[in-house]
Structures are given as C-alpha cells and as structure tokens.
C-alpha cells in the first residue's frame, strides 16, 4: 500500500552515537517512504561540550545543507514541526541514542542458573556493565552484600527471581539488602531499579524500594514459570529506564526527548525492535542477524521466528573500552587476524592508545589493517556471546557452527567505513563465519535503529525504506562446510544470469570465489558439492537457488567452518592477503 493512502509524514531521525551523531530525513517520494539524506557531526555528550544538543544541531545543519530544507528555526534553533507551507520543517522526529558511559548494573536473582541468567540476559539487552551479582548461592552476609552494592555505585539494579506466586521469603531478603544499599547512597546517586520477578511481591517491592531507589519500575516477571523465559516486556521497561537514566546523566537528552515527543530509544533496543519486526514481517524460517560495531558497544540482534535475541556488549565496543578487550581475549586471538607483520606489544599499545581517543579514525592503511583485525575479534566475541542466548529453534548443524540464517545486516562505523565493501564483507565472514546461503546487507548510514524508532510513527516507513534499497547489497554469500585438503575442489558452481549466459566456477577448499552479479539483479545458482561438502543445501546435496546480486555479486566462501587459520604467522598473513585480494584488495 502506498504511504500516501495512509500517512504522508516527513520524519527526521536523530541517532546520537558515542562518536558520531546522525540526522536522517525520511520522506514520501512518489507515494512511498524513502531515505532522503543524512547529515552527521561529531557527538557532543562528552566534555568539553557535555550537551548532546550541540552535536545534534550540527548534524541537522549538515543535513539542511545537503537537502536545502530548513529544519532548524532561525530564532530558537529548534526543530521546526510540523512541515510549514514554505516547505521548511518536518512532521515528526524520532531519536535513538547509544552515547553515554556503560550503565553500571547490579543483577539479582534467586537461582544462579535460572533467574540470575534471565537477569543477565535482560541486562545484556542494553548498554550495561554488570558490577555485582546477588543470588541465593551468595555466601556473603547481608551487610557485606549491601556494602558491595553501595561501593559499586550502580546506575541500575535489575531484580528477578521467583516464579509468579512462588518463592517470596528469600526474595524479600534480597530486596532488603538492595533497599538498604540504595538508602546508604546520596539521594542524587541512587540507582534506578527494575523489578521483574514474582509479581505477587510487587507491593512489597514498592514498599521496600519505592522511597530509596532513584526510580522504581516494575515489569512482568521474566520467569513467569520455571520453564518459560519472557524478556520482552521487561526489556521494554528497561529501555525506558535507560532513557531516563541518560536524561539524568547527560545534558541535552531532555531536549532530544521533547523533540521526539518521547520517541527516544536506546539505539540497540531500536535495532532489536527492527529485527524482530522484520523477522515477523518476512516470516523468516531460519533467522535474521544484525550486527553493529560501534564505539560504545558491539550489538548483535537475531530474530528467529519473530523471537528476538539481543546482546549489547560494551566490553567489545571499539571506543574507550578498547584496552579492556584484553580482559576477554588473548592478544594472540587478535593477532591471528592481522595482515601486517607487527608485534603483539605494538598491538597492545595501539589498543590502549586508541581507547584514549575513541572518536579518531585510522589515517593510514596500516592503522586501518590493525583496526580491522581488532574489529574482527570484537565481533567474533560478541557473536559467540550472543549465540549462547539464541533460542532452541535456532538449530545449528554442529555446536561449533552458526545456525543457518536468511539475511545478515551489518552496520556501525567499524564495518561500514572500511575503505571498500569487499573489506567489510571479508571482516563479517571472518568474524561471524556464517553457514548456508544468504544475502549480506550493509547499513552504511546506520539506518536500522532509526527505522526501529520511526516504526512508532509509521509501520510502512521501515519496510518501504528497506525495500527501496537504502542498504547496500553486498552480495549473496554461500558458505561451504567441507572436510578437505587445501586446494582440493569441493564445489562446482554455475550461475545462470537472466539472459541465460552462464559462469562456472570450480571452488577449491581454502579459497574465496567471487562470481559477479550486479545489485538489483537475480540469477540462478546451481551448486554441485564434492566430497560431501555442504554448500547450504545439506551435506553432499546439489541443487539450484535464486540469488540476488550486490556490490560483490555471489561470494562462495570455501575456507571451511569453523575457519581454521594456519598456526604459522607468515603463512597465515599470506592467506589473509590472498583473501583480501579476492574481495577487491
């Protein structure tokens, strides 16, 4: 249905990232919503600016200069709404935000393997860093617990535990410790509290914590019964709490909230919402995966049968936390992705130096190569962390493999700004190591979260914008699982174009094969695996599929799953260079 029959609003979307603030205009063109243009500016949440409004206005001014449409009022410097007869202004504003320090979070649950895990997954759905945990197995005395909480000065406490109508006494003890810890903190520093446990205790929670928490929100139980976990209602409440927290922490967030009439969402939450929406819309039988590598966090959102798994990992963000990545991985694990012959000490200094200047970008090819290696490992870790939370329906052929997916959408500066689409694609293949056959899309303007926010104003907008080609089609990837020696042929592929011309390729194990297929075109791909290789159709199974084109075309990744890199550094670097060359250098 054309948008003109439903609503014809122009929407300004603002995304405040840790490094970059974007202003994006969506409008109706020829009856359908389109991404019109984007303006960007450095973010200004940090000192010396300390006001995100400065960066937001700068981004909007840059957008104005691209579109020629006046969006900021000349007198008050505020966004003009609605659209004026002279064409200035917009009809609506939505906003997303990931800027701000990681949210220091205490999680509490009754059973460490049940409700505490739910609390952890809930906390991982936003920009949180868990600073303390409480559960029944905690051997500390209550006073030690409350001292520990007070010392960690949390921004947020997530309380879960008890099935609805279930255990209450142990839960009340825990609530007391949290309540007393809140009481001990200065009023202006008291944490916000989300209670998502046994709903029968809601009144007790209000009584015990209501007067002491920075703000108390009660959501439906994340564990209504032992067998059922339902994070969605609680994550909605958590998103709103995090927005409230940012309003308290950072100047200008209130203004953004008012501009957007309350449609201000944490970026990762909006990204997740969009993936859930797309998963339901396209009735994806396998799954959709979206990854975003930003300065504040790495975010992985996966939709399986309309169910969302959202993981936000500030510890794998590429900004100020970069030095701390070594608490989660060995430096050799980053070195394995390195095309350059540098020492691990050089890499270590790079990590710490970059964390001092999170908003800077690689100016030389060597720096870019180092940053790409770091991004690979950060994404590798983020995807593996997220995979542990994928639903049982996301079946993988082997525990060390990814489940098959229908689509991958990648965004964030570290992926989108890589010098070439080929390098971005190779980075994704190395880090995610997908299996099966699926198209890869590159969200170079970070639109996905903004579309998630815009969906609150128009259901048509996100669908029409995505279908209009706002994302760059990188190509269709065929990943081959095979057991063979390097150089052995594992697959015969034939691509039949619309004009019936054909291209054939013998794909050798350990290599990447690119068959051109321009964006917007489809072709028939026939796959004939050898040596019982699995090219997405089953082990040793041949067949044909229709594939869509992209910047690279059809990319057949026959390097094996999982990707085993040679232990010898010289050989490994040589291979990395060869693969890099295969995708365009």
């Amino acid at each position: 249905m054309p948008a003109s029959l439903v609503q014809t609003e122009s929407i300004l979307a603002i995304d405040v990232g840790a490094s970059v603030t974007r202003a994006v205009l969506f409008d109706v063109v020829e009856g359908e919503y389109r991404f019109v243009a984007s303006g960007q500016a450095p973010s200004t949440a940090e000192a010396p600016f300390k006001n995100i409004g400065i960066g937001a206005r700068e981004a909007i001014r840059n957008l104005q200069s691209v579109t020629g449409t006046i969006l900021l009022g000349p007198q008050d410097n505020n966004i003009i709404t609605p659209t004026q007869p002279d064409g200035s202004g917009v009809d609506g504003v939505v906003a997303t935000m990931s800027a701000g320090p990681a949210v220091k979070t205490v999680i509490a649950g009754l059973l460490s393997e049940v409700s505490l895990q739910s609390a952890r997954r809930l906390a991982e759905s936003t920009y949180s860093r868990v600073v303390d945990t409480l559960d029944l197995s905690d051997k500390r005395r209550p006073d030690q617990q409350l001292d520990s909480i007070a010392r960690s000065r949390p921004d947020l406490v997530v309380l879960t535990g008890g099935t609805d109508g279930g255990a209450s006494r142990s839960m009340l003890k825990m609530l007391e410790a949290v309540g007393l810890a809140c009481y001990l903190m200065p009023a202006e520093k008291r944490p916000m509290v989300l209670y998502a446990g046994n709903h029968k205790l809601a009144n007790d929670v209000r009584e015990l914590l209501g007067g002491h928490a920075g703000k108390l929100q009660i959501s439906p139980n994340v564990r209504p019964s032992l067998e059922v976990e339902d994070l969605e209602p609680a994550s909605n409440v958590l998103a709103s709490l995090v927005t409230n927290l940012r309003q308290r922490q950072i100047k200008g967030v209130d203004e953004l909230y008012n501009w957007s009439s309350g449609n201000l969402l944490p970026t990762a939450y909006a990204q997740g919402r969009m993936i859930r929406f797309l998963s339901r819309l396209y009735e994806s039988t396998r799954g959709l995966l979206s990854v975003n590598m930003g300065a504040s966090a790495s975010t992985v959102a996966a939709g399986f049968n309309g169910e969302l798994t959202l993981g936000v990992y500030p510890q794998f963000g590429l900004g100020e936390n970069l030095g701390a990545i070594l608490q989660h991985t060995e430096i050799e694990q980053i070195m394995r992705w390195m095309q350059l012959d540098i020492s691990s000490n050089t890499l270590r200094e790079f990590l710490f130096q970059k964390s001092l200047y999170p908003s800077t970008i690689p100016a030389t090819q060597d720096e870019l190569a180092i940053m790409q290696a770091i991004t690979r490992q950060a994404l590798y870790l983020a995807v593996r962390a997220a995979r542990t939370n994928f639903p049982a329906s996301a079946h993988a052929a082997r525990t060390d493999l990814m489940p098959k997916l229908d689509l991958l959408i990648a965004g964030g500066g570290a992926i989108a700004d890589n010098g070439s689409v080929g390098q971005s694609l190779l980075l994704l293949l190395d880090a995610i190591q997908p299996v099966g056959i699926m198209p890869f899309l590159l969200d170079q303007n970070n639109l996905l979260p903004m579309l998630g926010a815009a969906a609150t104003r128009s259901n048509y907008l996100p669908v029409q914008v995505i279908e209009s080609g706002a994302f760059i089609g990188m190509g269709t990837v065929v990943s081959v699982i095979a057991s063979a020696s390097y150089g052995e042929t594992v697959l015969r592929a034939k691509l039949t174009y619309a004009d019936k011309t054909e291209v054939r390729a013998d794909v050798k194990f350990g290599g990447l094969e690119i068959i051109p297929l321009p964006s917007g075109q489809t072709a028939r791909l026939t796959l004939s695996p050898l040596r019982r290789a699995d090219a997405g159709l089953g082990a040793g199974r041949s067949g044909s599929v229709t594939v869509t084109g992209g910047a690279l075309g059809v990319v057949i990744d026959a390097r094996g799953r999982p990707l085993n890199l040679p232990a010898d550094a010289v050989r490994r670097r040589e291979l990395m260079k060869r693969w890099s060359h295969a995708v365009g250098g």
């Binding site: 006073d143 200094e349 700004d417």
Partner: protein, 351 residues
Amino acid sequence: MLASVLHILPLATIVRERVLPVAGKVSAHLNQRVSPTDVIAEANFAREHVLIDVARAFNVTAKVADRMIKVNERDRVAQGALVAESGGMFSRSIRAPRAGRVMVAGGGQILMEVGDAKIELRAGLPGVVTQIIPEKGVVIRTAGALIQGVWGNGRIDNGTMISLIEKPDDVLTAERLDVSVRGSVILGGHVRDADTLRAAADVPVRGLILSSMYSSLLQMAYQMKYPILVLEGFGAIPMNSAAFKLLTTNDKRDATVNAEHFDRYNGNRPEVIITLPVTNEPEEPNLYETFAVSQTVRMKRPPHAGMIGSIATLRPGLSELPSGLRAVAADVRLENGETVIAPLVNLEVVG
C-alpha cells in the same frame, strides 16, 4: 566543525573545582589564599556496615523486635554496647559487635556504619578560594602555565619541577633518578620499564611527568603513591614540542601534578599547573573552538601522533585519506615543514 582544545598555555587563568567524594565539612573560607598542601575540606565516612537482625535473633516478628531495640537512628554506640534486649524473665540481649553509628533502627533490624575513615581534601594547587560549595569543597582560582595530559594514575602532589629530559624522545631510566631529585617533580620522557617507576618511589619523588609509557606498566603505575602524568599516551611517543618547550622553560619552578583520571564526561583530565605571578589576570582558556585555518593543532593518531602543526587549509566536503577512508579533513603543516592530510576528528586545537 567543533574542536576540543588541549591546553598547553604559558599563562592563563585556571579555575578548578576541588570536591570531596562524599559530603563533609569545608574548612576553607571565601577569598582564602591556599597553598597546595592546605586542607580545605574533610569528611568522615564509614568503610562498612553491620546489619543486626534483631527479629531473627529473638525469633519474633519485626514489629515485636522494634520494641526490643534500644538504640535510635544517629546514635553513636561503643563496641559491646547494648543495642537490643528481649526483656522478660530470661531476657537476652544483643550488643554492638563494633563501635559505630546507627543508620537505621526499624523493621526488626539495626544497621550500623562502622570503621570510620577520615578524608582530608587538600587544595592541590596554590590560589585563591573563589567559591565555597557547601559540604563538598571549593573553587580555586590561580594564574600560571597549564599543560594537559591524557592519562593519570589518580594522584596529586606538588614540588619543584626538575627536568631530566633533553629532547622530546628521551627515555627516562632508573639511573637518572638519584638522591639529588628527592622531593621533586620529575619531567621525564618515555618510560619503558618498571625499574624506573620503582626508583622514583624509592627516591622518593613528588611526581612524574612523562611523554609516554608502555601500557604494560599501567597496573604498577596505579599502585605508585606519587602522581604519574602521561602527556601523549601509550607506547614510545615523543613529547609534543609545545609541551616540551613550555615545561623545560619552567624548570626549577613549583609545579602541581594533578594526575587525575581522564573523565570524558565531566571533563576532568590530568594536568600540570605551574603558578606564576601576574599583575593583570590573563584570560580563561576556551574549552572548545571551531576548526579554522592557522590554528595550532596536535595530531592525535599515527603516523604523526603527538606532532604539532598548523592548519593550512580546511578541505571542503569529504576527502580520501591514505587509509582509503573518507572524512572531513584538513591539510596540516607540521613543524618539520611537511604538509599532511589529517581527518579533523584526529586533531585537537592547542590553546
């Protein structure tokens, strides 16, 4: 495009807030002239708490237990003092396990804060108190040279600055740190080993101002009792020429090394302040500027990290960098005469 400013200033008015981490008592008064070691505020805080569950101990309800509690909120109690008593013929009692203050008495429980600790907040820099922040601290105003760094180990001290650096890429070694520099703030270059940090502690020194150090020394640097301030960052990075010139020309002057952690959100960053006598108060430096031609800038990233230059041209639109990325960029004329392209996000204005 807006630019953050790195202060490397020979003379400026410097206004700094000095506050306690917890509420306390401010002892300094308005217009008081303070020296760096003067105590300006102090606070007592409890290191820990003790929770006494009276209801559980007496096996009664919280309401009944509340009637058995013999102390009130804010009461100071000595170790062993009676805090609750069950009453009756076989009365049982609960005594304070440690000396402390009652924070909460109710709900069948007593919460005490124990292990009092005292914090003394020193002025940290010489100057005049221009504002009292009740229960928190003061604002101090002074004039002098200001040199900002990028990393600090969280400590602050002051003393006579002695330069042990001859050229910006010098390495400071343990051998240079002998008894002749005891009680001084040392201006050094790059530190590459733990021995140097240990030698500085043994002397002892009042502070280290370094161009750079290896990140492997971070853990040890945090443990040092003296301030360590790094101007350029991690690795082996020479000191930028502006800081080098300014600091070496102030050799033997009193310097305050405030090696506080770089907090990107509140703007606090490690800095060296060298107070200078003035007849007319100089201007306060700008916190940020807009990039413009002729501005002096410092390169934040390789291949020219730490180098000082001036903006020759601001390029319109996006420019392709040697890395292949496209960004808003400037041509920067470096001090060695070379002109290089640099993305604006990799530059900071010096001023």
